[in-house]
């Protein structure tokens, strides 16, 4: 970006009386000398995009934040003595060992099917897409295989995880009134097998520590139980963590 203020600096023929140029010049020359002024001329508030917009630089920069003067002024905010206790606080903070959490946790994507909150390891999720039409396959109408869907240009096999796990579909009366939820199409993939299924809501990602997983109570007699590796708490929800290996295996066996 051309620095027009510098261009005028050494040219004796240019009229330097216009306030905007002089102001901008002063700030530039002071800052470039490495000697920041005690008070910064906030040209962006006076003649810039936050002011009356009369600055010449706006013709090229459009907005003040693209202008070099603005960014230089911002950086010069650091050209001052650190406040009380700043250095001492940081010395103490940096001395501590980092509470290392990363390696032992696994990421899990939490989603809702009906009234059940379930999760799968984040690694199997390829995409969470907008809900779209699922085209049914002729002569292949089973309870689990729903058809084909176009995801990212590829035709993917669509299944109903509700039916595979025996989860009841949510009715309108069950929908929570306080939050608008969006149904999504989850795309999961593992070792070349790709499956797509609609979910009622995707909550998001949660970093799960292996200790958090609790065993599933044996008294619960539903087919979803056999797919669940364990339960964990996320906020106010109890989420069932599904076994992805078993899921892919049974899908492959039943459908392909």
């Amino acid at each position: 970006m051309k620095d027009t203020a510098n261009m005028y600096e050494n040219d004796p023929t240019v009229n330097l009386d216009s306030p905007s140029t002089t102001e901008a010049q002063e700030t530039t020359s002071l800052q470039e000398a490495g000697n920041p002024p005690d008070t910064v001329e906030d040209c962006w508030n006076l003649i810039g995009s936050f002011g009356d917009g009369s600055c010449m630089e706006l013709a090229e920069a459009i907005l003040c934040r693209n202008c070099r003067l603005f960014s230089t002024a911002g950086r010069n905010l650091l050209e001052r003595e650190p406040p009380e206790g700043y250095v001492e606080d940081w010395t103490e903070l940096l001395g501590r060992r980092k509470a290392f959490q990363g390696a032992t946790t696994t990421g899990a994507i939490i989603f809702r099917l009906g009234l059940e909150w379930l999760a799968l390891p984040a690694g199997v999720f390829k995409q969470v897409a907008q809900i779209r039409t699922i085209h049914s396959l002729p002569h292949r109408s089973g309870p689990i295989l729903k058809g084909l869907a176009n995801v990212l240009g590829a035709l993917r096999l669509c299944i109903s995880l509700h039916d595979l796990l025996g989860v009841e579909k949510a009715t309108d009366s069950d929908q929570r009134p306080e939050r608008k939820t969006y149904a999504r199409l989850a795309v999961i993939e593992k070792e070349g097998d790709c499956w797509v299924f609609p979910v009622d809501e995707v909550y998001g990602m949660y970093r799960l520590h292996p200790d958090e997983l609790q065993s599933v109570p044996v008294t619960v007699a539903r087919s979803a139980v056999s797919y669940t590796k364990g339960l964990f708490h996320c906020g106010d929800k109890i989420v069932g963590f599904l076994d992805d290996t078993l899921l892919f295996y049974s899908l492959k066996r039943r459908i392909l």
Binding site: A33, G34, E79, P82, Y86, W90, T91, L94, R97
Partner: protein, 158 residues
């Protein structure tokens, strides 16, 4: 290639970001008596004692100004034992980065014995920014002294 820029007075220098671990604010350094004046001192970084070199004192013979923009760049420094150690480099106005490709780096043409750490030059807008070669920053004698106990978990006393 990404470079972290810093000022020494009005001159700008660049550090290759591939060797950089973290940039931390200025901290209180424990002075090392009888060490050269460009050794700023030691501080604890995540349980490890790290030596800090004052680049202003090393290159310009003037200590770093203690402003908010003066920070410490923690780099991965190859020790004389072949292991990588953490070394702190204190400099002024570490607030910018620069992206340049290999072709932008031109040799300075001067290789001084006193400053083997000065590397190639990047030309930007009529300004010349010199790269710092971290591996040549310290003389061998200082290198072995500083990293003798460095990397250990116990606090150094002197």
């Amino acid at each position: 290639m990404l470079f972290i820029l810093f000022h020494l007075g009005n001159d700008r220098y660049a550090l290759d970001s591939r060797q950089v671990i973290e940039v931390v604010p200025m901290v209180i350094l424990k002075r090392l008596p009888h060490a050269p004046n460009y050794v700023g001192g030691l501080f604890r970084y995540r349980g490890v004692v790290v030596p800090v070199i004052d680049l202003c004192a090393l290159i310009r013979n003037a200590p770093c100004s203690r402003l908010l923009s003066s920070r410490i760049v923690l780099v991965s420094y190859p020790g004389s034992d072949g292991r990588k150690h953490v070394l702190g480099l204190m400099a002024e106005r570490i607030v910018e980065t620069l992206t340049a490709c290999e072709a932008d780096l031109t040799p300075s043409g001067i290789d001084l014995d006193e400053s083997p750490y000065l590397g190639k030059i990047i030309c930007r807008e009529q300004e010349m920014i010199q790269c710092i070669r971290i591996e040549h920053l310290l003389p061998d004698s200082l290198r072995s002294t500083l990293f003798q106990d460095g990397g250990d978990e116990k606090t150094e006393g002197s």
